[in-house]
Symmetry: C2
């Protein structure tokens, strides 16, 4: 344990992201952007030419290059592993594809006990290319830039599997959840196992933190989140704390203003906040003892320079207010992923401004 | 004034919805469902066969019949005028259509000062078929069932016009809002005028309450809502209070947990709450002196009978707690519109249960 504690402390000094995430004092306010590696960058569109999304997620050289692109360009304090939420499902052998303009499409949606029983497990060997990319990245990343691993959370993975793809209302998912809790819990248990295996593989290969994305949890009421979802996310965080205690755990979902406290309690060190809830309000819901991440509206980046600057300053001020109110740190980020139409120069200017303030 | 006050008081006695909305004591807890008139009903699908959505909204006989269908079937305490959010825009002469599977499609999106200047006004004559439907409905509705009029709010109408149709991120809308506040305010001013004219036509024809739907306002942070949107919604409420003071004003948008206080302050007598925010939490944000409406998750209606009943009981209990905490009433509703796949018998059972509790 003591070596692990020391490695955390050393890392916290060297990496602003890890410092802010663990209650230490960062040398500067860390900033990164969800979906920073992706379609907003011309160099990304170039290397992806003719290569399918899923295909690219299993090529270590491409994952490494794409993950590095925004770090080179924007000088962010973290790299987020380039991947997709369905990558561990694909790796485990579930028949799915990512269709341009739609998103993930599951060949055989999982909607009953038999389908859940038939779901494969994930063998770490099946995500070896991702682990290889993580190892490459640790050799390539500039000093002080932390590598964040990534997995979808059980609920969000379940929504894709049950609906068969992206969904506006998640109604089949909720119908299964309400009507057949045993099957539901079996499904989320299996998906929790997959997330654990996927995150452990990344941690063992050198990821320095991880974010569990529960992208669609915000579709749930607080009561339903606590009953049907939180225990499964909690198990993922507990398993990672057991096997990789030095890695700070980030947790985020869009539209989760009412769930922030429960998502923190699930085991997150850093709770991501979407742009709808001001950080100085969020701290009251999360409670003291955890850091906050966020939360500039990604659409603000489409605005003029003066508006972007004013809104960045507002978020930084609210982050400071949150820290004064008991949050253990503030990681600057957007309140959701980078929109594909974003001008990358605007992102670079945001990074510079956050570092200046 | 005194006649108006008396008519309000008399109506409040005779109509549970109006009583709950105006701080009087309803004879029973009123219940209706957003989008209760529509695709969940086989009798709706039958009368709409071969008739386009917009076409049906301008045929008084059809509007009347479709508005009555859920009242007959479910015995709700209110009828919501069957219409669409873009109806007043279409009536004013804006070139648009409702495309099945997509939603409204605007032929020429409105994205600059010239396009805003060229926007037509709405003449009350252009919505005469809607007013005619309202008059027919007042003759047909059963005793005690109130007729709620309906308009889109300026922000939500603007999002359709600027984006050219439904949008996930509203990024063009926000870009215009941030970058060119003069054009933005001119646009929302014109849309406010259209909403006022549309609602006044309904009020004069006999609507007994109205709901201003700001469906997409929940995409905004509180700070942006207050700066760019609230003044325009406020003007609509003020104009209706001036010309139709007896009509309680309802206001709703999905995902507006952080905006509930500001939406009440805009001038709503009844603040609609989506299912994410428990009513006994919502009352703290709205403050005392207004009624609340909501907020069963529409997806719950896909669940088994026991789950539906338990969740209805929870919402009713939270509504009671909200009233105990200062809300002036509780109107039972869903936290969003009825999903098309909903079994109508489940809706009928919900009405019965709410009336029993």
């Amino acid at each position: 344990m003591s070596t692990k504690d020391e490695s955390t402390r050393d890392d916290a000094v060297a990496y602003p992201l890890l410092a802010a995430a663990t209650g230490a004092t960062p040398s500067r306010r860390p900033v990164w952007f969800m979906r920073q590696a992706g379609r907003s960058l011309p160099e990304y569109r170039k290397v992806r030419e003719g290569i399918g999304m899923l295909q690219s997620c299993f090529r270590p050289d491409l994952v490494c290059e794409i993950t590095l692109q925004p770090v080179r360009r924007h000088r962010t304090d973290a790299a987020i592993l380039f991947s997709d939420i369905v990558v561990p499902l694909k790796a485990a052998g579930i028949d799915l594809d990512i269709v341009s303009g739609i998103g993930p499409v599951i060949e055989q949606p999982v909607r009953d006990a038999a389908a859940v029983a038939a779901m494969p497990e994930l063998d770490p060997e099946q995500v070896a290319p991702v682990a290889e990319a993580v190892r490459m990245l640790r050799g390539e990343l500039p000093a002080g830039v932390a590598l964040i691993g990534f997995s979808g959370a059980p609920f969000t993975l379940a929504s894709y599997l049950v609906e068969g793809g992206p969904s506006r209302n998640h109604e089949r998912t909720k119908a299964l959840m309400y009507s057949d809790p045993d099957t539901w819990n079996a499904l989320l248990g299996k998906l929790g196992d997959i997330a654990i295996t996927f995150l452990r593989a990344q941690a063992e290969a050198g990821a320095q933190a991880f974010q569990l994305f529960d992208s669609w949890a915000g579709a749930l009421s607080l009561a339903d989140y606590r009953t049907y979802v939180q225990p499964h996310s909690e198990r993922v965080f507990a398993a990672l704390r057991e096997s990789a205690p030095a890695l700070p755990a980030f947790h985020f979902g869009v539209g989760t203003g009412e769930l922030l406290g429960a998502m923190g309690e699930a085991g997150a060190d850093v709770v991501g906040v979407d742009w709808r809830t001001p950080l100085d309000v969020a701290v009251g819901r999360v409670g003291p003892g955890r850091a906050l991440q966020g939360n500039l509206d990604p659409a603000v980046l489409m605005a003029d320079r003066g508006t972007v600057e004013a809104q960045v300053r507002r978020v930084v001020a609210e982050g400071d207010a949150a820290v004064a109110a008991g949050a253990t740190g503030h990681v600057f980020n957007l309140g959701h992923g980078v929109l594909p139409a974003t001008d990358p120069d605007v992102l670079t200017r945001v990074v510079d401004l956050v570092h200046e303030l």
